[in-house]
């Protein structure tokens, strides 16, 4: 500890500045969450359901504000706050908007889900906002302390969100499993951070970057970094830290699962990118094999395990593991093209996954099982939902002209591009290809259940409220836009990853 003090003293005044104004988006989200909790106290229980709309409007306003009001000379200029713990750069801003958009759709979904939650829907909305806050801090983390705190904020809120179905055994079981495995991974991570700190005497990514050439040969320092990687691997559900995902996806309330699938995974990825390519780029370059193997196994594991699944949410849990593997392709490629492909893929994944979960949430409001057969005859019950679900799985399978296709195209291109440097990349490209082919089987299983199953029991039409209809149209538009006009978002992604080395 004693080495730390002089270093802190050395830092200049400018770096020590709080720069609180930079965190405007986070403050707004925090204020919105706290305000929601307060209002909840005085609201009659019949009106609490509509608090979700208020929260969604608030999040939407913050999202708009982020486009209007950020004074940003150029994305390559990084602004710091809290003594360089917090960084606001192109990458952070990209992900903040991403998380805000995800939370907006999840909140609208939660309103539809409100009837199934026995009590405390107000807290449910507020917790989503707090998880969002954690994700937004994660997007800006430039320091292991902020990384840890933001991850804990996300994870702990998710423990509660997962077990919010207090009367459902599956939900409670999922919550406990998530808690235990999450705590374990947190322990790994803290231990790793302690080892890293012990050798480098700094927690700051920028400072670490200048030290890694010196420290790269220390086994214990590397050991610490591997532990950090394990903790982040848990967040993104990459092999071998994926074991929790199917159970938690299945048991958690649908809006929670949706937010877990997109928000929590994206937070894991932004932190992974920051640690690997800002804090220790020198060491990351030596981890090519590790990342290639991790990515390949994650893809195969997720896709192979998804084949026999009958529960839609569990199936999507396994498929989300596979998609973590696809996104790791871009990380493993170690190139700007690969990293921008990750960002692009995540953007497409946002609309795709949220579209799919919105449908599941609406269709399975009355059914407990969430079996694929519950989707039977959906095209007659609600053509819009059937179309949304079909488009979502088609996009997940990577078929043009939807977002998933162009995302996979970019990832594959980035990996093949590196093939000249390391033959493992070609193997990885073929593994990804095998994964895509396997995934066609179970994705088409869903489409088949919707359109041509014989045993249709329930043909009651599904009522759709205006806001949820709007968010469904938004998801469809997003999937098509990203698939057909990839230019604008791809340029944003390329700009955003410029801060990474």
């Amino acid at each position: 500890m004693c080495h730390h003090v002089p270093q802190m003293l050395r830092s200049t005044d400018a770096e020590k500045q709080m720069n609180i104004g930079l965190l405007i988006h986070e403050w707004l989200v925090a204020a919105l969450g706290l305000g929601l909790l307060l209002v909840d106290l005085w609201l009659p229980s019949s009106a609490k359901r509509n608090l979700g709309y208020a929260a969604a409007i608030g999040v939407g306003a913050i999202l708009l504000y982020s486009f209007v009001a950020v004074r940003f000379p150029s994305s390559e200029v990084t602004q710091y706050a809290f003594g360089k713990m917090y960084a606001l750069d192109g990458l952070a801003l990209f992900f903040k908007r991403f998380f805000l958009l995800a939370a907006l759709i999840v909140l609208l979904m939660s309103v539809e889900f409100a009837d199934r939650i026995a009590a405390g829907i107000g807290e449910f909305y507020a917790l989503i906002l707090f998880a969002l806050l954690g994700m937004m801090f994660a997007a800006s983390a430039n320091d292991f302390a902020l990384l840890f705190v933001s991850l804990e904020l996300i994870t702990i809120t998710f423990y509660v969100l997962t077990s919010f179905h207090r009367s459902h055994r599956a939900s409670l079981e999922a919550g406990v499993k998530y808690l235990i495995i999450g705590a374990l991974s947190t322990a790994f991570m803290v231990y790793g951070i302690a080892l890293v700190y012990g050798f480098s005497h700094t927690l700051n990514f920028t400072e670490l970057a200048s030290l890694t050439t010196k420290l790269g040969s220390h086994k214990i320092f590397l050991f610490g970094l591997v532990f950090v990687l394990a903790g982040l691997g848990f967040k993104i559900a990459a092999f071998p830290f994926q074991i929790w995902a199917p159970d938690v996806y299945q048991g958690a309330p649908s809006p929670t699962t949706a937010f877990l699938a997109i928000g929590s995974k994206a937070a894991g990825f932004v932190l992974l990118l920051r640690v690997l390519f800002i804090a220790v780029p020198g060491i990351t370059a030596q981890w090519v094999n590790l990342l290639i193997i991790m990515s390949g196994i994650t893809i195969l594991y997720g896709n192979l395990c998804a084949i026999p699944q009958r529960n839609v949410k569990r199936l999507l849990g396994y498929s989300s593991i596979a998609h973590a593997g696809y996104m790791l392709l871009g990380v493993a490629a170690m190139s700007t093209a690969g990293r921008s492909a990750v960002l692009y893929y995540l953007s497409g994944y946002l609309f795709t996954v949220l579209g799919a979960f919105t449908v599941i949430c609406l269709v399975m409001r009355q059914v407990d099982g969430e079996d694929i057969s519950a989707l039977a005859g959906l095209n007659r019950r609600s053509p819009l939902l059937a179309a949304t679900m079909t488009l979502s799985v088609v996009s997940l399978a990577g078929i043009p002209p939807l977002a998933g296709f162009f995302g996979k195209f970019l990832l594959l291109k980035a990996v093949i591009e590196q093939g000249a440097t390391h033959p493992g990349y070609y193997c990885l490209a073929f593994t990804a290809l095998a994964g895509v082919v396997i995934s066609l089987y179970y994705y088409f299983g869903i489409v088949r259940a919707i359109y041509w199953s014989n045993d249709v029991t329930d043909l009651s039409p599904i009522p759709l409220s205006k806001p949820i209809r709007l968010s469904i149209y938004g998801c469809i538009a997003g999937m098509f836009f990203l698939g057909v006009f990839p230019g604008p978002v791809l340029n944003l992604a390329i700009e955003a990853v410029k801060v990474l080395r």
């Binding site: 195209f409 073929f430 895509v436 088409f444 088949r448 791809l490």
Partner: protein
């Protein structure tokens, strides 16, 4: 807007339009689908007539249009035709119209069917017209996915589900292998563009290294090969066509399948010339698998649709042989057979579909004597069978003979074996099928089978037959267009890696990747 863009957009725009038509407006849906495909077929005919092959030598592609799409990656929407694809676009548009005409047999979920059919047609036309690697692949996938869904939903027979999965998985593997090959090609070239003319020009100056070529070429050969049912990757085709609804089988076997062959001719041969020359020996022997083995299997089929499926796999052998010969005559013949077989496959699947619709079976041992009940359909089927055997006067003859002339110089042994396989085996299975279906005693249960009642029902068959005869009697119409373009491709293949021009150093330094 180029004429070509209109041809592609007609079916796609109609598909979007149909999405907003309520499901019970059947007449509207049929009308829109027919009109859209008719319009693009008419435009394609106009384009074919306006096409002047003399221009190719001077200005490259005709009717071209280029719109930047993702400039960061060098992707643009670029369509255009030269002698090789002008005929294919024409054939695709006419077959699409015939397929839309024949779809009156679909009675359930018509809206979805017509939407998928139109998307498939638009995708096919787009794939053949694209001059950009990305869109080339994109449009093909756009056409491929409706195929799976149509087999799954409107398919027939007990093996429908199995066939759907097999076709989906086989073709996806093929398409993805080709995709990896195309991406590798883009990256290896260093041209930082997906534009095929630019890429060709760039590679002509700086050929891809031999090791790169030998890595990419097999990916393209087998990726495209699976899509074209190259032996031994052909098993999906008879099964899939046997289970597919008529219009899907027509469009896929007739047109979409030619995508892989077109890709080999347009992309793999000129851009990877060294590897192409060393792989062609292998391809020539593989194509014997198609011609002889699949022909042999076709002889043993009991189901007529399976038989046509195997026969269409067998016919792919001619095209592969023409490509493998790597000379002007062979490649010109290959393109001729592609066009001729497109009309022929659509015609036979359409007629098979008509008989199935009337009788509910295509098991040849249960049929017989149908010529008495179906004078028009039966006569058309006879003509299709003769065309399939390679009777002079039909377009297939012109193409196949040209292929043999081209291949004789390079692979005499393969050509002799192929002649036997093609002419004798082909004649045996085709004529035997005619005897079983059309001649002999008419079983009692088929006494009520009715012929195509009016001109409207006969139209698609008449058009397809007319095309076969037209290009059979006047193959010069196609050959004079194909030849100059095929010549350019052959020149690139045999130009070899030695002829790099002095400009190559500058081009190499200028061609640095945008993404690095």
């Amino acid at each position: 807007m180029s004429l070509l863009t209109f041809i592609i957009c007609c079916p796609l725009a109609a598909a979007i339009l149909l999405a907003f038509v309520p499901g019970n407006y059947r007449v509207v849906m049929r009308g829109v689908a027919l009109l859209a495909t008719l319009l693009s077929a008419l435009l394609a005919i106009i384009m074919f007539m306006l096409f002047n092959s003399a221009d190719i030598a001077t200005s490259g592609y005709r009717f071209d249009q280029q719109i930047p799409w993702v400039s960061a990656l060098g992707i643009s929407y670029h369509v255009g035709v030269d002698g090789i694809n002008v005929g294919l676009v024409l054939m695709g548009a006419i077959v699409a119209f015939a397929a839309a005409c024949i779809s009156w047999e679909i009675k359930e979920r018509e809206k979805e069917f017509y939407i998928l059919l139109l998307v498939m047609a638009g995708g096919i036309l787009g794939a053949f017209a694209s001059l950009d690697l990305f869109f080339f692949y994109f449009f093909h996938e756009l056409a491929l996915v409706p195929t799976f869904i149509m087999i799954g939903v409107w398919g027939r027979g007990e093996q429908k589900n199995y066939a759907t999965f097999q076709v989906a998985i086989y073709l996806s593997i093929g398409a993805l292998l080709a995709l990896i090959g195309l991406i590798a090609l883009y990256l290896q070239s260093g041209a930082a563009t997906f534009d095929i003319p630019q890429l060709t020009e760039h590679i002509r100056r700086n050929p891809i290294s031999a090791s790169g070529q030998h890595f990419i070429f097999p990916l393209l050969l087998f990726g495209f090969g699976i899509l074209v049912s190259l032996w031994p990757f052909h098993t999906w085709a008879p099964l899939g066509y046997g289970s597919a609804p008529t219009a899907t089988a027509m469009l896929h076997a007739g047109v979409l399948k030619k995508f892989g062959l077109y890709g080999l001719i347009r992309i793999a041969l000129p851009l990877l010339p060294d590897a192409a020359q060393s792989w062609m020996q292998i391809l020539a022997w593989l194509c014997l698998g198609n011609l002889v083995y699949c022909g042999w299997v076709a002889m043993r089929q009991k189901d007529f649709n399976r038989l046509i499926g195997y026969s269409s796999v067998a016919h792919m052998g001619f095209i592969f042989l023409g490509i493998a010969s790597l000379n002007l005559i062979g490649v010109t013949g290959a393109v001729l057979v592609m066009i001729a077989h497109g009309f022929l496959a659509a015609l036979t699947f359409g007629l098979g579909g008509y008989i199935y619709q009337q009788t509910g079976t295509l098991q040849m041992d249960q049929l017989g004597g149908l010529l008495r009940r179906l004078p028009f359909i039966g006569a058309a089927l006879m003509m299709a069978a003769f065309a399939g055997c390679g009777l002079p006067g039909f377009a297939n003859f012109a193409g196949e003979v040209t292929v043999f002339f081209g291949a004789w110089k390079v692979f005499p042994l393969v050509t002799i074996l192929a002649c036997w396989g093609a002419l004798i085996i082909g004649a045996v299975y085709a004529l035997r099928a005619m005897r079983n279906i059309l001649h002999g005693p008419l079983p009692e249960k088929w006494a009520r089978v009715a012929d195509a009642p009016h001109l409207w029902r006969k139209t698609p068959f008449i058009i397809l037959l007319a095309c076969l005869l037209l290009f059979g009697c006047f193959p010069g119409l196609l050959v004079e267009k194909i030849k100059p373009s095929a010549e350019q491709i052959i020149r690139m293949v045999h130009g070899g890696s030695g002829n790099s021009l002095p400009g190559s150093v500058i081009a190499q330094t200028a061609g640095g990747g945008v993404l690095q």
